[in-house]
């Protein structure tokens, strides 16, 4: 290793964060979500970010984060917003329209996809959104590429005045490798857009800007700063060429650790591309195999509707599984190489699903809910996304839904509209301020007979205990939205209060209007962390 160059061992997420800082980032915006969380956390824990006063506060949700980042870009500075893939659904309105307004300071939108759903509700592919919005995409294969490409992404964003989607997936986000750092770029100065109407999407302006966007998108297909990331390596065996997207390249090359592929390989890590990118490989080979992490997006575009070109293999013809993440073995099988295998897992090995931590307030909250529900038929608890979703598993088996953040309250409203009474919603504090408050307003306005139980552990627990925007504010938010004082109940979910909590919950189940029960008890994990850091502060 060359010691003149600084090298750090970084997670893919950290490489993205470090690169953005080194490329003159002024504002980082995000809402936590696996596997994207460590991007913001890296910047929050960086002494340099503190010194430079880079913006690094969490936002209430991905939409507010996206829009705040766009505002930073409006003011001429470089901004980045990061989220997990489903976060892009929440931010989609702002994201898609930011392509039409265009940007001023460079703007990177990082979407961390989770193929195989290690900790997600689906495995949607964010490249789809980029195409939908006519936005370029960078999809690095390694931590080093992730670091390097951030510089290019900012540069491209400013040159074309367009946001850039930066797509990473779980394995890159959460894998560590050495990354060589570049020289840093200073932050930009405050500078408002030259055209004061650039960001005003009145139809007359939007039509013009949309046409400009369409032509920009065509130019991007021929821009060297994108095409240089799509590289072709020739090979003598022309029976089947291989096209890889993003980290699929690693799984291909893993099968050739002692040799080199003797067939042509096209490695794609940036979009959009023009036809010529492919003709080199498709002209030479009688068939191609496409390896992409996520949806068969490149595969579909190559096939087209008529699918009458050269033979194409991939997820659509079953050569590669239709769903789930790739790995070296899947690639080996598709190439007809031998697949190594170890022993089977012995039968005595049991499943070890995640569970509530010892001392978790959610478990006492659910014990009381279960008791209070005993006199009703099952199937009436709409829940949400967070640690409390574990109540779907034994021994609790209590909740009947977990769809998207905030859907507990609104689904309870709809079910109560249909005649279900009582209809119950269970939601966490961070989820409540992410997307629950607007649903609560709907309930209040029509006085829906729903009971909303907010499991307030004063943190965003599931993703590792990030600061929750809700902390200390829930009661006033509910009152402000219009929940009646008499039906805003505060409980502490501890064993000692069991009888009393059951009584309160039962009373509110029977009320024919909106009730909110706030069950407050600090997350045991954050409590431990807090005590540890206090102890070490007292020592020093």
């Amino acid at each position: 290793m060359n010691h003149n160059i600084q090298k750090l061992l970084l997670l893919g997420d950290e490489a993205v964060a470090r690169a953005a800082m080194d490329a003159g980032l002024s504002g980082m915006y995000a809402y936590p979500g696996t596997p994207s969380t460590e991007i913001m956390e890296y910047i929050q824990s960086s002494a340099e970010a503190t010194e430079r006063n880079i913006h690094r506060e969490w936002s209430s949700n991905e939409k507010t984060a996206m829009e705040a980042a766009l505002g930073m870009s409006y003011a001429g500075k470089r901004a980045m917003v990061a989220m997990k893939h489903v976060g892009l659904n929440v931010a989609a309105d702002g994201f898609i329209n930011s392509a039409i307004t265009g940007v001023n300071g460079g703007l990177i939108v990082v979407a961390a996809d989770d193929p195989s759903m290690h900790s997600s509700q689906n495995e949607q592919d964010s490249r789809f959104y980029a195409k939908f919005a006519f936005v370029p995409v960078f999809e690095p294969a390694t931590q080093q590429e992730a670091y390097d490409m951030i510089f290019d992404a900012f540069e491209l964003s400013e040159r074309y005045k367009i946001p850039v989607l930066f797509r990473i997936t779980t394995r890159l986000a959460h894998s560590r490798a050495a990354v060589e750092l570049k020289l840093t770029i200073p932050e930009k100065k405050l500078k408002l857009p030259a055209d004061q109407l650039q960001f005003v999407l009145l139809p007359a302006i939007a039509r013009k800007r949309y046409r400009a966007l369409l032509s920009t998108y065509e130019s991007l297909k021929y821009d060297l700063s994108i095409s240089k990331f799509n590289s072709f390596t020739d090979g003598s065996d022309r029976r089947m060429g291989v096209i890889t997207c993003g980290i699929a390249y690693n799984y291909l090359m893993e099968n050739f650790s002692d040799s080199k592929p003797d067939f042509p390989v096209l490695k794609i890590t940036a979009y959009p591309f023009n036809k010529d990118v492919f003709t080199e490989i498709t002209d030479k080979c009688s068939s191609v195999l496409i390896l992409e992490e996520g949806y068969p997006i490149v595969e579909e575009s190559l096939r087209g509707i008529l699918d009458n070109g050269i033979k194409i293999h991939g997820r659509l013809d079953g050569m590669v599984p239709r769903d789930g993440e790739l790995n070296p073995a899947i690639v080996a099988k598709a190439l007809g190489l031998s697949v190594s295998a170890g022993r089977d897992v012995p039968e005595i090995v049991r499943m070890r699903p995640p569970s509530f931590c010892a001392g978790c307030g959610h478990s006492d909250m659910f014990s009381a809910i279960i008791e209070a529900l005993k006199s009703y038929s099952p199937g009436r608890v709409f829940s949400d996304i967070g640690c409390y979703t574990l109540a779907a598993l034994p021994p609790y088996d209590t909740i009947n839904s977990c769809v998207d953040m905030g859907a507990s309250i609104t689904m309870a409203i709809g079910a109560s509209d249909a005649g279900l009474f009582p209809a119950v919603a269970v939601i966490g504090d961070s989820t409540f301020t992410h997307s629950g408050m607007t649903g609560l307003l709907d309930a209040v306005v029509k006085n829906s007979p729903v009971t909303i139980i907010i499991g307030d552990n004063s943190t965003t627990g599931m993703t590792g205990g990030q600061k929750s925007q809700a902390t200390g504010r829930i009661e006033n938010i509910c009152l402000g939205i219009g929940v009646s004082r008499d039906h805003l109940r505060l409980i502490t979910p501890i064993r000692k209060n069991f009888e009393e909590n059951v009584r309160i919950i039962k009373e509110e189940f029977e009320y024919h209007g909106v009730s909110v029960i706030i069950a407050s008890r600090e997350c045991i994990q954050t409590a431990i962390k807090r005590k540890k850091s206090r102890a070490s502060n007292e020592l020093s």
Binding site: A177, G342, S355, L390
Partner: protein
Amino acid sequence: MKNDIILSGVGGQGILSIAATIGLAAVECNLFLKQSEVHGMSQRGGDVQSHLRLSDRPIASDLIPHGRADIIISVEPMESLRYLPWLSDTGWLVTNSSPFINIDDYPPIEEILSEIKKIKNHIIIDADSIAKRIGSLRSGNMVILGAASPFIEIPYHNLENAIRNLFKPKGEEVINLNLKALRAGRDFTGK
């Protein structure tokens, strides 16, 4: 040189401090390294694993292919068995013998140990007792790393240096405790 290592345990048991120690040592030896971690959902008392790959040449995949791991290092005995599909025929399985029981149907420990003993190259170490004897249960991870260290192609003193660097913020006492733990594990396997 190539070492593919699977680290396993239960969320909260701290397998990442083992990974960090090997990682720092590998960097000091100018080796290439990739280490994939599991974050998020599975941390709540569920099974966790980390793939750690060391090589003197660039490494392609962040994941170890099935049947290719040289070592499984596990801080929990049942968890060590969960990753047998990754272990190569000649690979070593090094595991703690103390079970972490947070499920109702945890199998009898004797049955687990006898499954482990079916693997030709195995080391079963009561890291919890050794760590307690040394002075802190929390150094159990380093006892297990020590027990696995003869199979990792990194000089022992580089692992020691890594511990010094990793625990520097926590002070001399913690460093020495962990060095002692590493040594105790190493001696166990050496015998």
